[in-house]
Symmetry: C2
Subunit: 458 residues, 2 copies
């Protein structure tokens, strides 16, 4: 059977063998020659195309290496037995979602103030971490490098009252990743109790991992232990330092009630997300619940994305002994998700005292911002504020308007505020409440936002 | 009810208020005073301890802030209603697993050669990426920053024949993380077809995500399409460039068979892990299967951990349009797991041509190592090698010994080799075969290892 290929039209740019190869791939995929059919001999093709032997040889050897052609010692090159593909028409790449609106004042809660970020120190230690540690190129420990974990254990012991050995620390690229990791250690925990109102990211992570999120009401002291007990869940996620979004700090009595819930059944665990614990304005930070736990039923979770910057993807779990043993079995061959150079840079940032200094500077900035914003907002008649003693957001209540009115009138003057009901799974809250984050705005902008809100709401 | 607390013994070091606070926490937690009981008045305690009023005030206000005490306007400070906790004895942190043995020659497959890593360029661009991009501190796009994704799409189009828009790229901290991400996009895909023999990390990731791994035999051209069709799985993970561990490169006919399997049912997807595609010695790299797919049923997966260094945690998925749409719904609020500074550093590494140069240098080093090692091993009587045309490992068969004999005799001369059966789910392979990685050893060490193996196996 003789071939019936068309001949290529050569153009400038790509090498001739490449153009010939591409042309022949197209021909073969369109059935010229059909599977089993013979290709022109190399010499024939040279003559037909007026190219050198090596051009044809290279193209044929590529086609053979990739399996388009089979070379037979006597009969030359034959097209391989390729299945015809009759594909559906290709789907187009969906257009990107519309760009979010530009706000004059964005009071959502995810921003942080990066104006005090110590660029020159960070650039210096990043460079040193690369230069001075060539051994950090090879694969490290799945939990993160031990010197970094030791620095973290020190930090958490000193600042947060966490009791742990460096062996218990698991470093990972963000809180969501570590939540997934933890759920993979607890495959039988199908229901996860979450705070209501609560952190949407935790709800989403639970759902993505195929578990059922069980909303548990939050009262003035945090998650309700009786509702938790009734829920039947054996795993509960709480934010005791500064509940998101209510701003409640859980008093020690409630912490002990939750611990005693955990001790009341086998395999019950509390996840303590120590969210925003770095920033507390009324008194010093309240020690972590993990430090009260003497049995090993609290999994502590923290991150540098709020205290340093959202783009630094370093978070950490502290596993109790029983879960550490399980981790070592399930994750022994995985790779840590944080680059070792970044771990080493952050270790230097911690042990050289740069992190402590940064926290003090940025904490005092947030304190001033919070004072300026709350003072200006408190002047609006009827406004009540809560949860402003810690963290980077607070709640504002204004009973005379409805929640949609609060949000829409704010939007009309280009101030973005989130309704509390956005974070609620039970009935919408009464009186009307919005969540105000202030970290991403300057003091001047905060005063502007407060003035705009005062006008919009009166 | 009057209190019955013991008094602290002050020591040097901590401030007095802190010592008093800690002492009182201990007392209260041991029921002195019992819940509801009255604390000594501040003035009483000053007098008893001989400390200043501000010391006692600070300690009491910390105890009140944390919820140990409640302040009543008339009756002073009363212990909060704390539940007594009667914990089980705490579990100890389990001792770390024993350190792995030290090998004279480690021929396992996970190491790479980092001797050519361009430290000074990397340190320079890392520093520049921090200094020149202060805006990279804030939260970025969940899929990774668009300029980096554009550079990746260019690279993959040029080197791997991948057809994609930057919008289709998802950057993540490692192949395992991205496999989890993909499984979360396909929650109904309970069975995942994996190559047998195959990559243990893929098996582990599937199991950790609560899916069932279905081993599908690999023949001389890769995954068997008939067994795949029979398996009932709608998701298959394959390594066409250089199958792990057999070293097979999948010819185009088999690729088309697998594509036609994917097109044969709704929601069928192929995961193409383009493992080790950067290193090919016999001919130029074979284009990715993704480039053959015109319908959108191939998810392409790649990483820099082999081509640059294992500790650089940057991998990427190319999602077909249908899955991209789903990703945007499910992951729209998540944070990318790779630091933005690291994305920017790697982008510069790519577009400044440093990556291409590094690949050429290290590829030619691996080619020399592979040649030296295979040449020395081929001299051992009865030895057959396969899969050495690409990647960083190959297979060695020696029918005259059993597989355990091959491994144990190698271990006796301190050469670590892995048996092929380690990666097999079906019956152990015949004849006896071991997997040899060479990237982590120098040329001299490889010659030493080959000499040691020659002695051990004859």
């Amino acid at each position: 059977m003789e071939s019936s290929i068309t001949l290529p039209v050569f153009q400038d740019g790509l090498p001739l063998y490449e153009q010939l190869y591409r042309h022949l791939v197209g021909e073969i995929r369109q059935g010229r020659p059909a599977p089993g059919g013979r290709m022109p001999s190399k010499r024939q093709l040279c003559a037909l195309l007026g190219v050198s032997m090596s051009t044809v040889e290279t193209a044929y050897s590529l086609l053979t290496a990739e399996g388009y052609l089979v070379s037979h010692p006597r009969s030359g090159y034959v097209v391989a037995d390729l299945l015809p593909l009759t594909p559906d028409p290709a789907a187009d790449v969906p257009p990107p979602p519309p760009a979010p609106p530009k706000w004059k004042f964005d009071c959502s809660t995810s921003a942080v103030d990066t104006s005090l970020f110590p660029f020159s120190s960070w650039a210096r230690i990043t460079k040193e971490a690369v230069y001075e540690n060539p051994d950090l190129l090879q694969r490290g420990h799945p939990q993160g490098d031990l010197p970094f974990r030791a620095a973290l254990a020190d930090l958490l012991g000193q600042y947060r009252g966490v009791h742990c050995a460096p062996e218990q620390v698991v470093v990972g690229a963000g809180v969501e990743y570590l939540l997934s990791t933890l759920l993979q250690l607890l495959p039988g925990h199908n229901a996860v109790a979450l705070e209501d109102p609560g952190y949407p990211t935790a709800y989403a992570a639970v759902a993505r991992n195929g578990r059922r999120a069980v909303p548990i009401p939050v009262d003035a002291w945090g998650m309700d232990p009786e509702a938790l007990e009734k829920s039947g869940a054996a795993l509960a996620y709480v934010t005791p330092s500064h509940q998101f979004p209510s701003g409640v700090t859980m008093p020690v009595g409630r912490r002990i009630r939750l611990l005693s819930w955990a001790y009341g059944g086998p395999e019950r665990y509390l996840i303590e997300d120590d969210y925003d614990s770095e920033f507390r304005y009324a008194s010093r930070p309240i020690p972590a619940m993990q430090g009260l736990d003497r049995v090993g039923r609290v999994v502590y979770l923290g991150t540098f994305s709020r205290s340093i910057a959202p783009s630094i993807r370093v978070a950490y779990l502290i596993l109790p002994p029983a879960l550490l043993e399980r981790y070592r079995k399930v994750f022994s061959h995985t790779a840590c998700t944080v680059s070792r150079f970044e771990q080493e840079a952050l270790r230097r940032f911690l042990v050289q005292g740069l992190y402590g200094r940064h926290l003090r500077r940025v904490g005092s900035l947030y304190r001033r911002k919070c004072a300026a914003f709350t003072q200006a907002l408190a002047a609006i008649p009827g406004v009540k504020l809560s949860g402003q003693g810690a963290g980077l957001h607070f709640l504002l209540t204004l009973p005379r308007l409805s929640e949609p009115e609060l949000v829409e009138r704010a939007a009309a003057v280009s101030v973005r505020v989130h309704p509390l009901s956005r974070y609620c799974h039970a009935a919408p809250p009464v009186p009307a409440t919005v969540v105000l984050g202030y970290a991403g705005l300057t003091q001047q902008e905060l005063e502007g936002a407060a003035a705009a809100l005062a006008g919009a709401w009166t």
